[in-house]
């Protein structure tokens, strides 16, 4: 029944609500409408476990009166309910205190067009539950058949999201766009000799069906990764180089995104607050936030306040070039927005990255493992990052490297280092950029971390 999200209809709703808000006394207002349909199917041990098929739409409203801001969310699109909602939201402004910096962007800052970033796959709507179940089953089957040590499964999940986003602002912009995303993840389980269970996974994700890996390839790789964990053990506490696989490196990059956000900077919640223009990472590190990449997972033609999206070089050869700002944080810091506002229907604009990419290096990723001893990190666990101080300590799984090769899997250890030191001591950047998600990194090597184990 998946209904097709309609960007034009969303834009009409957004413009309609904008007119109600202004009629109700708002001096400025912006409306975000999101209409999405999701299909999610799960197969476990060959049998369908879940078919979820639904559509959902909601509207987020930000209104201003005398520099007082209110933010509201509703899923009721009946015209009478929309009018009443607009009135009540404008009244809410009275509760806020005036903040001279709180305002929409200036008219000349607004986007003038909506570039087509090729985010919609025309073939995506034709995927139905039956075919999605078949693909998921093929993926899981491949994992279960690879090796008899694969004894169980957490299943295979195939998902598809089709969404339309529209935005209308009294600062002079109205636009919308559509996007699709498809994904498949397979999670096999093995029994280890010590009675422990080991699970691993592999996934593929793309805006286009044609960009997905074959289900069998996903299943086989998932099984290989899970089997490789058999025999995992702790290692002795030590200080060694750490090689972060792209998926683990992506987690590091996501944490870096949090401390280059203008919001964190003016809130004194970033250890990088006073460091613009200085070295914050190894010269091997260049990071770009790029919203305009065609077909990329985090692409957006305009930002959450209606500004034209643009690429921003955040770190260039180790030097912090700019914080990412929305309009408010830019005003707090006495500068212009970088067009980096994100916006969900549930809240006001906030700085958010689009495609946050650490550019690939020239070193073949495998060469980064050529160390006498070290830890190859496949995934990180936990919440051990203090953005105010840069203290960083996370649980890790991976492999022990001895004499340049992975000799056994490792689990139940933590790695610790100050986050500032971590970025500065990167001494290798691989050539293997992982483009599956909106935070993208190649393999990274850090010259020395503390590993806490036995």
């Amino acid at each position: 029944m998946s209904r097709l999200p309609d960007a034009r209809r969303c834009q009409e709703w957004a413009e309609e609500m904008l007119s109600y808000a202004l009629a109700a006394g708002a001096q400025a207002a912006e409306i975000l409408v999101r209409d999405a349909s999701e299909l999610e199917v799960k197969v476990r041990l060959g049998e369908p476990e879940l078919v979820k098929d639904a559509g959902s739409r909601a509207l987020g409203l930000r209104v201003l009166r005398d520099h007082r801001v209110a933010v509201a969310y509703t899923s009721d699109f009946a015209p009478a309910a929309m009018r009443q909602f607009a009135r009540e939201s404008v009244e809410l402004c009275e509760l806020a205190e005036p903040d001279p910096l709180a305002d929409l962007p200036e008219r000349h800052e607004m986007a003038r067009e909506v570039p087509d970033l090729d985010l919609w796959d025309e073939t995506a709507p034709s995927l139905d539950a039956a075919r999605a179940l078949r693909l998921a089953r093929q993926g899981e089957q491949a994992a279960l058949q690879l090796d008899r040590r694969v004894t169980n499964s957490d299943g295979a999940v195939m998902g598809r999201v089709m969404g339309a986003t529209a935005f209308a602002s009294s600062a002079g912009f109205s636009g919308g766009y559509r996007g699709t995303n498809l994904s498949l993840v397979v999670t096999p389980v093995c029994d280890d000799a010590d009675g422990k269970k080991r699970n691993g996974y592999h996934w593929t994700s793309s805006r286009f069906a044609s960009g997905l890996l074959e289900p069998e390839a996903v299943g086989l790789e998932a099984a290989r990764r899970t089997l490789a964990k058999l025999g995992s053990r702790k290692i002795a506490t030590c200080q060694v180089p750490a090689v972060f696989a792209p998926e683990a490196a992506r987690a590091l990059l996501g944490q870096l995104a949090a401390v280059v956000s203008g919001g964190a900077v003016w809130r004194k919640s970033s250890y990088l607050a006073a460091r613009e223009g200085t070295a914050v990472a190894s010269p091997l590190v260049t990071v770009v936030d790029h919203p305009l990449l065609p077909r990329a997972p985090g692409s957006r033609p305009f930002d959450g306040e209606g500004l034209a999206a643009r690429p921003n070089v955040v770190v260039s050869e180790g030097v912090l070039r700019t914080f990412l700002c929305d309009v408010y944080s830019a005003r707090k810091l006495g500068r212009r927005s970088t067009g980096s506002a994100g916006r969900g229907v549930g809240g006001g604009p906030q700085v958010s990255t689009s495609n946050f990419v650490l550019l690939a290096g020239k070193t073949p990723a495998a060469d980064l493992e050529r160390v006498p001893q070290g830890l190859y990190v496949t995934d990180l666990m936990g919440f051990g990052f203090n953005p105010v101080t840069g203290d960083w300590s996370q649980g890790a799984n991976g492999f022990w490297i001895d004499n340049g090769s992975r000799v056994h899997p490792v689990s139940e250890v933590t790695i610790s280092i100050n986050f500032d030191d971590l970025w500065k001591s990167i001494d290798g950047v691989g050539d293997d950029l992982d483009t599956r998600s909106s935070v993208q990194s190649p393999t990274l090597r850090v010259s020395r971390v503390t590993v806490a184990g036995m």
């Binding site: 029944m1 806020a96 610790s416």
Partner: protein, 486 residues
């Protein structure tokens, strides 16, 4: 369903309750449509939620927000398979469409008719005389100002304070094809304070807060004044200003009372959720009746604690919330069940079928999960440690369900040297394995405490409010992830 709380500034206009027209006649028709393709069981989950939030930042009310959500989720089961669909639009045509879509999971089975509905009644374990949403906004802003002022007044080194309050009123109506009709009204009120201290170029943050199923009277209760959270956030930020690098490696760890319960939640609780055990992917699979912890450990999940964040009168499958014994003196006694798993294990529902919203299918989830108090004096426990770490405040944790490996991050902790708390430590993680760490419990204090903090548990992308608790506990050996090697 009656009126939902209105009045005050936020919901002055008396909107009709969007669920007012939903009755047994409507439900029985929809259940029939959901089962028309051959499903064995169906349920309807109607949800109406209104909420508001206020943020005070730099001593100014920066923004006020509100939300109104209404929707229906329809679930159809056939064997272990679930069909699920939802809608925000409660027109008759749209609800029928959703019911039929959910029913498609059951391709052409024998048709079962729904049983006539009977209302389930029980006592209300979180009665509130008036929802906070019905109170005027300025009353709530005054609470934030009190918290903010107390944090600033605590010490001149406090350079930044953010205080926030959020409130929610959720009404649910559950109809099942086996004849249950349950409803609940679930209030939630949360206050949080974040303070940043600065001195000589060093900076540290501290947080304190509370979240309970109460109205504004919460803040008049002893120990719950907003000022207390302001001061506590400031105290932690200051205490951590001079924190030292933490040691790395295995050592004795003492868990402080209350929020250390997060360790139990991660290390044990998730592994006892019945779906993982039904699928044999939990490390506790087939362990009922077996020893899984030190005999000092008795663990319960209790949805019936008055006003607690994790409590529910009824779960999201329409079963009453209850107290469930999970581990008794180290022996595993039971799992946390939802409907699918309870049928699999031929056991009774335990009231643990929960969901984030009408957009999500229910899963076995924790409510308030904790370790019961023991015999030891908390002072004796600390005194018994020659060199170790005292864990006082946690920011969160994560577990790999299939093997029990976990990580916890501490936001306030101290070195223990010769039986005394000494230096505050920074950036500490605890890492270990659930079953192993519970076998390492060697002392349990008599000072049980349920944390009243804002704990939210995530599973399969769904977040639900939970409670955690413990007495003071000594763990003989756990790996501390610090930066200082011995």
């Amino acid at each position: 369903m009656g009126d939902f709380p209105t009045g005050g500034k936020l919901f002055r206009a008396r909107t009709a309750n969007p669920l007012a027209g939903i009755d047994a006649v409507v439900a029985e028709k929809l259940l029939g449509e959901a089962l028309a393709s051959g499903g064995e069981y169906a349920d309807l989950y109607f949800e109406f939620r209104c909420g508001a939030d206020f943020v005070l930042e730099e001593a100014q009310v920066r923004s006020v927000g509100r939300a109104l959500v209404v929707g229906l989720g329809v679930r159809v089961l056939r064997g272990d398979a679930t069909g699920y669909a939802y809608t925000e639009e409660l027109s008759a045509a749209r609800m029928s469409e959703v019911a039929r879509t959910a029913g498609q999971i059951a391709a052409a089975g024998r048709t079962v008719a729904p049983v006539a509905l009977t209302r389930l009644d029980g006592s209300d374990i979180y009665p509130v005389s008036e929802s906070s949403l019905a109170r005027p906004g300025p009353e709530k802003l005054a609470l934030l100002r009190r918290a903010d002022a107390a944090a600033r007044a605590f010490d001149a080194r406090i350079v930044r304070v953010e205080a926030s309050l959020s409130e929610e009123w959720r009404e649910i109506l559950v109809f099942t094809s086996d004849g249950r009709l349950a409803q609940d009204r679930q209030p939630m009120l949360r206050l949080g304070v974040h303070a940043v201290a600065e001195e000589g170029g060093r900076r540290q943050g501290g947080r304190s807060g509370t979240a309970l199923r109460r109205g504004l009277e919460l803040f008049a209760l002893p120990g719950h004044a907003p000022e207390e959270h302001g001061r506590e956030a400031a105290r932690i930020a200051l205490a951590m200003l001079h924190a030292e690098e933490a040691p790395a490696g295995p050592m004795e760890v003492v868990l402080g009372p209350g929020e250390s319960g997060i360790l139990l939640h991660e290390a044990v609780g998730h592994g006892l959720e019945a779906d993982f055990n039904r699928k044999k992917t939990s490390n506790y699979t087939d362990q009922i009746g077996k020893s899984v912890a030190s005999q000092l450990c008795t663990v319960v999940d209790d949805a019936t604690i008055g006003h607690a964040r994790g409590s529910v009168n009824v779960d999201d499958e329409g079963n009453p919330g209850q107290r469930n014994l999970l581990i008794e003196n180290g022996i595993l006694r039971g799992y946390l069940q939802d409907r699918i798993s309870a049928r699999h294990f031929h056991s009774e529902a335990t009231g643990n079928g929960r969901r984030e919203s009408f957009r999500c299918q229910p899963l076995p989830r924790m409510t308030n999960t904790f370790l019961l108090g023991g015999q030891d004096d908390p002072e004796d426990i600390i005194r018994s440690v020659r060199r170790g770490v005292y864990a006082k405040r946690f920011s969160g944790g994560q577990v790999n369900i299939s093997n029990g490996d976990f990580v916890f991050s501490l936001t306030e902790s101290y070195l223990i040297e010769d039986g005394k708390l000494t230096a505050p430590l920074r950036g500490v993680n605890l890492i270990g394995n659930g079953p192993e760490v519970l076998r390492q419990v060697t002392m349990v204090g008599h000072d049980f405490k349920l944390s009243e903090g804002t704990w939210t548990c995530g599973k399969d992308g769904q977040s639900v409010p939970v409670g955690v608790g413990t007495p003071t506990v000594k763990i003989a050996r756990i790996t501390v992830g610090g930066t200082r090697t011995p």
